[in-house]
Amino acid sequence: MAAGPPIVVRMTSSAITASGLRKAYKDKVVLDGIDLDVAPGTIFSLLGPNGAGKTTTVNVLTTLMKADAGTVRIAGHDVATDTKAVRAAIGVTGQFAAVDELLTGRENLKLMADLKRLGASEGKRVVADLLERFDLTESADKMSATYSGGMRRKLDLAMTLVGKPRIIFLDEPTTGLDPRSRRTMWDIIRRLVADDGVTIFLTTQYLDEADRLADRIAVLDGGRIVAQGTPAELKRQIPGSHVRLRFAGDAELDAALRLLANATRDDEDDLVLRVPSDGGARSVRTLLAQLDTESIEVEEFSVHTPDLDDVFLALTGRTSEKVNAS
């Protein structure tokens, strides 16, 4: 989890504010009154399942789409009336890597530098720096069509950073990446805030990602923000992690229930007990040792940590699966 900023009265103005955002496609309401406030130099995460309206929100905030109603101010500039100033202040990395596949990594970055009018020597320096920083120097002169998914995302983000935008929008930056590439991407995002003091607005469908990166999280569901707060505040609303123990028969289960004071029966399975636990090795070992000394046989054992489904269950009374299906 990212360390939150100290709680001080903010005198500076917000990096991003939105109020009353509405957007509908024909008769389908996609955004139904969104209010947001993101402090400069922080990571804000918009969390929600597919179809919740995350990309539409990003498109509206980044001038790619006009809202039907509501106002947006980015770095103090109104999106509707001062589009140019907004565009000068932001960088956007969309959900699908927007790299030019017929250009090499270096040429992609050079293209951005030229379009930002950095000048030949400055451009060259910026491109070399970014390649180095994103660990792409080795493949810099290969066609980006040959890059792996993780490299493509990195190049995409590097392209966004040309010209040093102060506010960066990342739409599902790690969806489809393998765990190692995800971790690399997280490190890069954290460093951007720590080293350069940029503001990051990122969307994700993974609770752990929002948890690890964000200073504040807003949960989006069906075009509305159903909860907003720090990761700790949100997690208090979610059932905690627990260990599930499955027994061969009622005798073992009853014995275990007598032994473990905080265990509860599972609602769905008669032979399962839920034991609150942080899921760490030490506490799990202690728990299993306890059962072992009483010779209670455990047939099946699993650690359950809260995920997006739990957040949704807690906040909306239904799972994200049902949201997807509807």
Partner: protein, 246 residues
């Protein structure tokens, strides 16, 4: 203007790295010309040197073959998400679109130069004077400009790269139904009528007249009017589609 030239450089790099585009745009028309002259041409009853007759037609066919690459390039920009990056960077739509048009024209004009070179080796002997050559260049710039804009519009309107590739097929077919390969007089009645009234016939006849040293004013006026009309439709259609889609 600077971002338009940057985009032009990008688009041209794409062409050089796409063997299919190079083949369709520059090599295939030469293969066709060799076939028409050395395989089929003997059977045609055309007065004079057949290479002299067919070269103007092949020049226009070269323009049309190059257009499928343009439609594809425009469409893949729109469908692959890179267009959003350009928009957020405040690159104007005119810079994006005119760079595609300029790249398309440049590709065509280079391919035409190569084709004329091969035609000269095959015995093409144009009788054009210096002012006639200037007319040839002016007309070709106008034709490539007009067909590029209409193709950019078609590429923008296509939903997928596959349909964008298909959308230029009618443009490739049109020169065959004109006086490009054989005189329209020799065609079946319905086809001849179509050939007489479609844009490529006056364009090719103007080109033929200029290269022959016998420019015909009537054809030229019709050709220029067609080009202006096609360019205008392509331009307006492109801008409105671009606005709607992106």
């Amino acid at each position: 203007m600077s971002s338009a030239t940057t985009m032009l450089g990008r688009n041209f790099k794409h062409t050089l790295r796409n063997p299919v585009a190079v083949f369709n745009g520059a090599i295939f028309p030469i293969v066709l010309m060799l076939m028409f002259v050395y395989v089929l041409g003997g059977a045609y009853d055309i007065p004079g040197n057949y290479v002299d007759y067919i070269t103007p037609g092949m020049i226009i066919l070269t323009v049309c073959y190059g257009l499928s690459g343009t439609a594809l390039a425009v469409n893949s920009d729109m469908t692959k998400g890179i267009i959003n990056r350009f928009k957020v960077m405040d690159i104007s739509r005119s810079a994006v679109l005119s760079a595609h048009v300029a790249a398309s024209m440049l590709r065509s004009l280079i391919a035409i130069a190569v084709l004329i070179g091969v035609a000269l080796i095959m015995g093409f002997r144009p009788a054009a004077s210096f002012p006639d050559w200037l007319g040839v260049i002016g007309l070709l710039v106008l034709v490539t400009f007009a067909t590029s804009w209409i193709t950019v519009a078609l590429g923008l309107a296509a939903k997928t790269p596959e349909s964008a590739g298909l959308i230029s097929v009618p443009l490739v077919m049109l020169p065959f139904l004109s006086s490009a390969i054989v005189p329209a007089d020799t065609m079946a009645a319905g086809v001849k009528q179509f050939a007489d009234y479609q844009p490529f016939t006056p364009i090719i006849e103007t080109l033929r007249g200029l290269l022959d040293g016998t420019p015909s004013g009537g054809d030229a006026v019709v050709a220029i009017a067609w080009c202006a009309g096609i360019a205008l439709v392509g331009y307006v259609w492109s801008l409105s589609t671009f606005k709607k889609r992106a």
